[in-house]
């Protein structure tokens, strides 16, 4: 199935909002770190419900914010959630970014990057559209060290790339991006039941659930364009 087919379905049955709620636990900490200056242009890759762009406008004084998604239904939903005329949504593909060279100050992406058909090409595209000194905040929950995420591929038809921390750094370097930081951003909000509730439907042990959320959380890699 294509990205469009898979995620149009998600958007249609409200999973855009479900993801927003869950991802916000860590995404807000990632967004808080972005060095957005007044008037900067920010792009959200794989924006889903588009919450990140709206948050950056509300809290950071960003000038214009664009959310790009491969699913027309996601973009349509996202557009419907805001009246801010400086937030716009587009349909497009990660490996074929429809932006001019050096036209963007900061790129953000949450739980979307690894769906790229060719993530190396996506990184080259990101580097191309960023102005020198522009940043790329790349946040993923699906990655090699997070063993609790490995099974996710089974329930998603789009092929996912599972890199390790080091593979992320290496790929950024290969694409010509400097790596400025790498971090695990813990999710401290997902509720973890008391010991006697385990095993639950989703978790064998409490330790596993603690590791997944409080320790591994979201892997953030920050790149800077030369």
């Amino acid at each position: 199935m294509s990205v469009r087919e898979e995620f149009d379905d998600w958007a249609a049955d409200g999973r855009d909002k479900g993801m927003e709620e869950r991802h916000w636990h860590t995404a807000k900490h990632v967004l808080a770190r972005m060095p957005v200056e007044d008037g900067d242009t920010v792009l959200d890759l794989g924006c889903g419900s588009g919450y990140a762009g709206r948050a950056v406008r509300d809290t950071k004084g960003a000038g214009r914010v664009y959310g790009l998604d491969g699913s027309p239904e996601m973009a349509r939903n996202a557009r419907g959630y805001t009246d801010d005329s400086n937030v716009s949504y587009l349909v497009g593909d990660f490996d074929h970014l429809p932006f001019a060279d050096d036209s963007i100050d900061h790129v953000f992406t949450m739980e979307a990057f690894y769906y790229a058909n060719d993530p190396h090409e996506t990184l080259r595209e990101v580097r191309r559209i960023l102005r020198p000194g522009g940043t790329f905040f790349c946040a993923v929950n699906y990655y090699e060290e997070n063993v609790h995420s490995h099974a996710w591929q089974d329930s998603i038809s789009v092929e996912m790339t599972r890199w390790s921390r080091e593979e992320y750094r290496d790929a950024f370097h290969e694409a010509g991006l400097y790596v400025a930081e790498q971090d695990n951003v813990p999710d401290r909000e997902t509720e973890i039941p008391a010991e006697d509730a385990f095993p639950t439907d989703n978790w064998e042990t409490r330790e596993a659930m603690v590791e997944r959320y409080r320790e591994f959380g979201t892997l953030l890699t920050v790149g800077v364009a030369p």
Partner: protein
């Protein structure tokens, strides 16, 4: 789609400039229309205010 977007968007294939043909507008926004690449001639639709800049072969895939 706000017209200011024209400043930074380009053809996803060859990264060349796009030309806007607005067929319906509302408060500074283009609701329906077409973006055409000034170089390769590829056309991209604007529907319900959202430009679809997927490469043509991904649009219906």
């Amino acid at each position: 789609m706000k017209k200011s977007l024209m400043d930074i968007i380009c053809c996803p294939l060859d990264k060349q400039e796009l030309e806007l043909d607005a067929r319906q507008e509302e408060d500074e926004e283009v609701i329906f229309g077409t973006l055409t690449c000034t170089e390769c001639g590829e056309e991209y639709p604007i529907e319900d205010g959202i430009p679809n800049l997927l490469p043509p072969d991904m649009r219906e895939a």
